[in-house]
């Protein structure tokens, strides 16, 4: 038993120092495993709480979902033994990632939202967070009209202890304006984020990449150019930003495709087996757009993919690589659309290739 405790503490300590990502999660999973082997539920819970955080913020949503389910099960069995606030708070991270997986049917996503609503009410907070996440999830599922309705409900209610920070809330509303093609209003709304007056662990990281092309489209090219390296530096080392890497590549594809290549070299091998299908798809679409663009303007280029990449063989066969990326991306898009009951992502992908490719 002494051995277990020392080993567990060592693993947790070592993980603590690491950035959210694969190495950290490997250590935490090991810690959870040995806790399970020793039958120590409290330690298993502690390790999984850390997995949920590292997974949600480090690009491993599936691991977060799995760990969180386990935690919730333990909590329901023995609510007195665990910290209710943290558990309720983390529900938001986890539910936010579920729609990325086309294998989860829409009804199950609905019942998760209802479960969240029920638990939050029991915990003593309003429906505000419920509407807010319904708004977010509707956006992810291509249901922009429904998202708009939820946004209205959400705005009627007052902030409470489970509300996201104001930077995050602002960020999502900017995203909504962007998705509904209101570039100018979006950029205006994002001003506090751009000027660094509103920030948190996730903002402006996840906001700026989506403003590059809108700024460019609005003719504010200098601002976009200045923002690009700054924004990229913030996110470069965290795989949770797969979609954001894609936005950078897409932007560079439009303004200066050669500059997009190092990003493709770096991130394709990291993201080719990314856990999150939706984000992987977004990255692939932008990567394909870049290859299209380079092909179209006839500039020669080389790709430097490592032998461990599953696209290694295609590094010199640009056409085939592009085709493979598009094929995989559209397979995911179709699967998501089937689940969502619309044709949002297939259209989205085609338009993206048209604009950026």
């Amino acid at each position: 038993m002494q051995d277990f405790e020392t080993e567990f503490e060592d693993l947790m300590d070592e993980a603590y120092d690491l950035p959210n990502g694969a190495a950290k999660i490997a250590l935490l999973e090991r810690a959870a495993e040995i806790a399970d082997l020793a039958g120590d539920v409290a330690s298993g819970y502690e390790a999984r709480e850390a997995i949920v955080e590292a997974g949600s913020f480090g690009g491993f949503p599936l691991k977060a979902i799995v760990a969180y389910s386990w935690q919730l099960g333990q909590y329901d069995r023995n609510p007195e033994a665990f910290d209710a606030r943290t558990l309720h708070w983390n529900y938001k991270w986890v539910i936010d990632d579920v729609p990325s997986f086309p294998d989860v049917p829409a009804e199950q996503i609905d019942s998760l939202l209802e479960d969240l609503r029920r638990r939050y009410r029991a915990y003593g907070v309003s429906d505000r967070t419920y509407w807010y996440y319904r708004f977010r999830l509707s956006m992810y599922m291509g249901e922009l009209e429904r998202a708009g309705e939820c946004l209205k409900e959400f705005r009627k209610l007052k902030k409470d202890g489970m509300s996201d920070c104001s930077a995050c809330e602002l960020d999502e509303q900017v995203k909504y304006l962007l998705l509904t093609r209101q570039d100018e209003q979006a950029v205006k709304k994002a001003a506090p984020i751009i000027q660094d007056r509103q920030r948190c662990a996730h903002v402006p990281h996840s906001t700026l990449p989506f403003l590059l092309l809108p700024l460019h489209r609005l003719g504010r090219t200098e601002e976009a150019e200045e923002m690009q390296p700054k924004s990229y530096k913030l996110i470069r080392d965290n795989l949770t930003f797969a979609h954001e890497f894609g936005e950078h590549i897409g932007y560079l594809s439009v303004v200066d495709p050669q500059r997009g290549l190092p990003l493709l070299d770096r991130h394709l091998p990291q993201l080719e087996s990314h856990e999150d299908p939706l984000n992987r798809m977004m990255f692939f679409l932008n990567a394909a757009a870049l290859l299209r663009k380079l092909d179209r303007i006839g500039e020669p280029y080389v790709l430097n993919l490592p032998p461990s990449s599953r696209f290694y063989e295609l590094a010199d066969r640009h056409d085939e690589l592009r085709a493979r990326l598009e094929e995989e991306a559209f397979a995911t898009a179709a699967a998501l659309d089937r689940r969502n009951g619309n044709d949002y992502y297939v259209n989205f992908g085609q338009e993206l290739l048209k604009e950026r490719g």
Binding site: E33, I65, L112, N304, P307
Partner: protein, 608 residues
């Protein structure tokens, strides 16, 4: 706006002093720094008027214990009566200059007053005699901590400058002891370009020596190596062996980064000594260098950063960000230069500080490219540098956790695979990034199933001999979604190796979590797991080693009806050896298996 009127804030000086001493400053001893700062500012101001003026600071201690007094005298610009009124007004009247007085960026006069207030932490009365270099009468000011003060014009004219007298307040006599004062004066004023003298008990000594030229021009430090190292030892209290000069492009920040002569923990507190306008501002400045630079302890001077109100740290702003980047760049470029001119020296530094070097390399591709050959790693070929490992020209397999490495290293080295331990901080990340840095380098994360590629297949004869038994074994583990593979591999003591492809591992964890989850989540997990079950990758594999005598007997010997149970036991055993957590079903296997074994052994005893 004609009827608008200006009001003044009423300030309770007693409350103000309490704020300063209990909340703003870290210790009462900073009063000495504040006095020295005032003296320095006054001398600077006077030198602006008269560049040939030679500044001097004189400190005198008299009496002892609670009767002790301290005098600090400077020959700076001095204050006119108007100046005195102005600073007093400003302390209580923050609206006049946008309230920035307490926030560091402020006029000489405003700062002067705030500095003076800090003396109330150690003295119940402050007496200041001052004569302005601009003329006018000499002034005496007496202040009390309750906010009352008196001003008197003196008949005799003093020489220009300021004298401040403090009288020890109960329980602060420590701050008036000669040793403390001497230490603090040196501490705060070591880099001041004019003499500070301390007189006590009739003895007078100079506190600070002549300033060496390389402090101001760090690029010349290499020429005075021994002197620089000695200076570092006296200022930072450690015996260093190497250093790197620091300088920003503006030339307004510079210093010496001493290489720590011992390894430091990643979380160790950085404690650089930083001088702002030649006055010590902090011994614990942790934000002036990039995080990765924890293998150095620095002496830094700057005149381009903005101190916080307590004057003990710097504001985190763009200016600081730029200075931090450029100081980091000084270190980085020196290391890069070393890789060409003095690789041995670089090797020594890297060996001592591998952890922070790896951190830096993980953040910065260019740096990684330049130093990658010297980074040390643990591998199945021994402790080697990455350069040596690359020279093997093999696939570098790496593990993402130490535990994984320990588990697989023996099997891997028996197959003579080159496996690198990526389980320490940043290592897996670096190995993953290596192909981007070194073209053609082949690094792969080691998955247990990769090991099996090195296992030998059975020959045709063995295969047909073991066919029946293999099928039965496979069938026995079907319900655990595990396939049995019969191979030959080293070491022969190992009967079985359980491997779990990533997809199967995910599925396994989904199923185990599903057993424990509430309904809404259990169904989501079901959907996520359901889509995976179809793939061949969702099966785990149990490799059985025909080189092992027991396995040999089980599969090549007389057929036995107990094969199923025995394979289940090998499976459970392999799970345990690999430290895999077991499901309830698997734990049950172990239970029934052991009972069977006991039962069989008793039967065979009966038969004897």
């Amino acid at each position: 706006m004609t009827d608008s009127q200006e009001y003044r804030f009423q300030v309770n000086l007693g409350g103000m002093i309490d704020i300063l001493s209990n909340h703003l400053y870290s210790s009462p001893r900073v009063f000495l720094r504040e006095l020295l700062q005032n003296a320095t500012d006054a001398i600077t101001a006077r030198m602006d008027l008269d560049p040939s003026h030679r500044g001097e600071v004189y400190v005198e201690l008299a009496g002892s214990g609670t009767g002790a007094t301290l005098l600090m005298q400077d020959n700076g610009i001095g204050l006119t009566e108007e100046d005195v009124h102005e600073f007093l007004a400003m302390i209580g009247h923050s609206s006049k200059r946008n309230g920035t007085e307490l926030l560091g960026e402020t006029s000489f006069i405003g700062r002067f007053g705030i500095g003076l207030l800090s003396c109330f932490m150690v003295s119940d009365e402050i007496v200041m005699l001052t004569q302005s270099a601009k003329g006018g009468p000499s002034i005496e000011w007496r202040g009390k901590p309750d906010g009352t003060y008196s001003i008197r014009k003196l008949d005799a004219a003093l020489s220009p400058g300021t004298k401040v007298y403090l009288r020890c307040k109960p329980d602060t006599d420590f701050y008036f002891e000669a040793d403390t004062v001497e230490l603090d004066l040196l501490h705060y004023g070591a880099l001041l370009p004019y003499p500070i003298r301390l007189s006590e008990g009739g003895r007078e000594r100079r506190i600070n020596g002549e300033l060496p030229d390389w402090i101001v021009r760090p690029e010349r430090a290499a020429g005075s190596r021994d002197e620089v190292l000695r200076f570092g030892e006296s200022m930072l209290g450690e015996r260093f062996r190497d250093f790197i000069p620091l300088r920003t492009s503006t030339g307004r920040t510079g210093g010496i980064a001493y290489i720590l002569p011992h390894a430091v923990n990643l979380n160790a507190k950085r404690s650089h000594k930083v001088y702002l306008k030649r006055m010590l501002i902090s011994e614990q400045a942790d934000n002036i260098l990039p995080e990765w630079a924890f293998f150095v302890k620095c002496l830094i001077w700057t005149d381009e950063l903005q101190p916080t109100a307590s004057r003990e740290h710097f504001y985190e702003n763009e200016q600081l960000e730029r200075v931090r980047c450029e100081l980091g760049e000084s270190i980085r470029s020196e290391l890069i230069a070393m890789s060409e001119t003095d690789p041995k020296r670089l090797g020594r530094i890297i060996e001592m500080h591998a952890l922070s070097m790896k951190n830096l390399a993980a953040e910065d591709d260019e740096f990684y490219r330049l130093i990658h050959r010297w980074l040390p790693f643990e591998s199945t070929y021994g402790n080697k540098t990455l350069g040596e490992l690359l020279d093997e020209r093999r696939t570098l397999y790496y593990t993402a956790s130490l535990d994984h490495y320990r588990q697989l290293r023996h099997v891997a080295s028996a197959q003579s695979m080159l496996v690198v331990n990526g389980g320490y901080i940043y290592e897996a990340e670096l190995l993953e990034a290596l192909p981007r840095i070194v073209r053609g380098a082949d690094t792969r994360r080691l998955l247990p199933e990769d090991l099996s590629l090195a296992f030998t297949d059975l020959n045709a004869e063995e295969r047909s001999a073991a066919l029946e038994a293999s099928r039965a074994a496979d069938l026995a583990l079907q319900r655990f979604r595990c396939r049995v593979m019969l191979k030959r591999f080293k070491p022969e003591e190992l009967p079985a190796l359980f491997t779990l492809p990533e997809e199967a591992a995910t599925l396994r964890s989904i199923e185990r979590a599903g057993e424990e989850s509430p309904q809404a989540f259990a169904s989501v997990l079901g959907s996520l797991g359901g889509s995976m079950q179809s793939g061949a990758g969702s099966y785990s594999i149990l490799y059985l080693n025909l080189n092992n005598p027991v396995v040999q007997r089980l599969f090549m010997g007389r057929p036995t009806s107990r094969l199923g149970t025995l394979v289940e036991m090998l499976y459970a055993n392999a799970l345990m050896m690999g430290h895999y957590p077991m499901s309830r079903q698997e734990l049950a296997l172990l239970n029934t298996g052991i009972l069977s074994l006991i039962d069989w052994s008793m039967e065979s005893e009966k038969g004897e």
